[in-house]
Symmetry: C2
Subunit: 228 residues, 2 copies
């Protein structure tokens, strides 16, 4: 979420003034990210026009953006669907996430303030609660929030933007796996990351992030393989 999506501060405090295509984009984006859309599911313009109660043009623009983000897939014959990831895709995503997100974690470590760390702790507590109660939707939201909040302190809009796109790609698959195997099954290295932040140790933060990313993604790989 960077300059491409950043609404002006003035617009944020007055949501009614956001253009319709922006609202539709945000809604659709959330649906992809938090798994309201199942991989393979068809996404139709007219369907969204009805469910989101928007005009055709805004829906069209939102879908184009999501396709460009990699969140949706253009099937060639005018059809749009939610992508289903294969092992090959996941392998690439693991590499990309490791390099980009570790760097972001490292950079954030050097800049984040003590009180902003506390904010991350708050999110992580909500995450733990979601895990404990088996709240899949809450798990997805809080987990994403944790990473996004951390990266927002890295002062690296382009890298954050890339990371954000990667999350959009595996969001639906993450939902599938967490719904199938449960939230408890997921590894969680956030405590280690928070430790590293408090010690202001970038290397340690990067290492903890690498484990968080790798273990999480590996778990997705396992979960998806089990489906076949």
């Amino acid at each position: 979420m960077t300059e491409t999506t950043s609404p002006p501060a003035a617009a944020q405090e007055n949501p009614a003034k956001l253009p319709a295509h922006e609202i539709v984009y945000q809604k659709l984006r959330a649906q992809v990210l938090f798994g309201e859309l199942v991989p393979g599911q068809a996404v139709t313009i007219q369907g969204l026009v009805e469910t989101l109660e928007a005009g055709m043009t805004p829906v069209r623009e939102a879908i184009r953006r999501l396709i460009s983000d990699g969140a949706l897939m253009f099937q060639g014959n005018r059809r749009v669907s939610v992508p289903l990831l294969g092992p090959q895709d996941l392998e690439e995503l693991i590499f990309a996430r490791k390099t980009i997100e570790c760097e972001l974690a490292s950079r954030a470590t050097l800049r984040i303030s003590t009180e902003d760390i506390e904010e991350l702790v708050t999110i992580d507590n909500a995450l733990d609660k979601a895990i404990a109660t088996g709240d899949v939707a809450g798990y997805l939201v809080q987990n994403y929030s944790f990473h996004t909040a951390l990266y927002s302190h890295a002062n690296a809009p382009i890298l954050s933007d890339i990371a954000d796109r990667l999350w959009l790609r595996f969001g639906p698959s993450l939902r599938v796996v967490s719904g199938r195997l449960g939230t408890q099954s997921f590894p969680d290295r956030h405590k280690d990351i928070l430790d590293a932040l408090r010690r202001k140790d970038p290397e340690m933060a990067a290492l903890a992030m690498e484990r968080d990313v790798f273990e999480g993604m590996e778990h997705v790989v396992q979960g998806l393989q089990a489906a076949n």
Copy 2:
């Protein structure tokens, strides 16, 4: 029979059947990549409707996609422009390009065939010719072609996609610098890369790519600083 991949191929061989928004996107994308649009320049919908002789809806969709790509910038107040990169942006791009493109080069090394290497040599020769004759547009096109052709053999669509986006971001700035300092001033490590490919040495390919990326981007940094 699930030939979900054949329709695009059929559409490609018959360009007339490509949807208007796709054509507009390709044209605009080329204009950004090869510097027909100057950083800071305003991009208006109605202007493109006239110059590209397309309808309003296709132009709208194409612009949204380019914004999502990072190729264009939404200025908040309904204005769209070509981004002008600062040192901070370039620093991020250097990191991202190095990690992603080195990996792509490394992966391509293990898979590319001898005849495909020859194809790269052909492109590189055209590049040398463009450099020698000071053909800025040709330089930009051939340089991009070389990298894209190489990455197409890495069998990594997601990473290639990320790399492609990065090029869209610095395209306009690259044009500015090469127009200002000339094509000869740019370093060129393509020969080293080709050497590594022939020896099937992924490490060496990654190293050569790292130098190509770093020196090229550093040159852009210098060139843009000179402007201030």
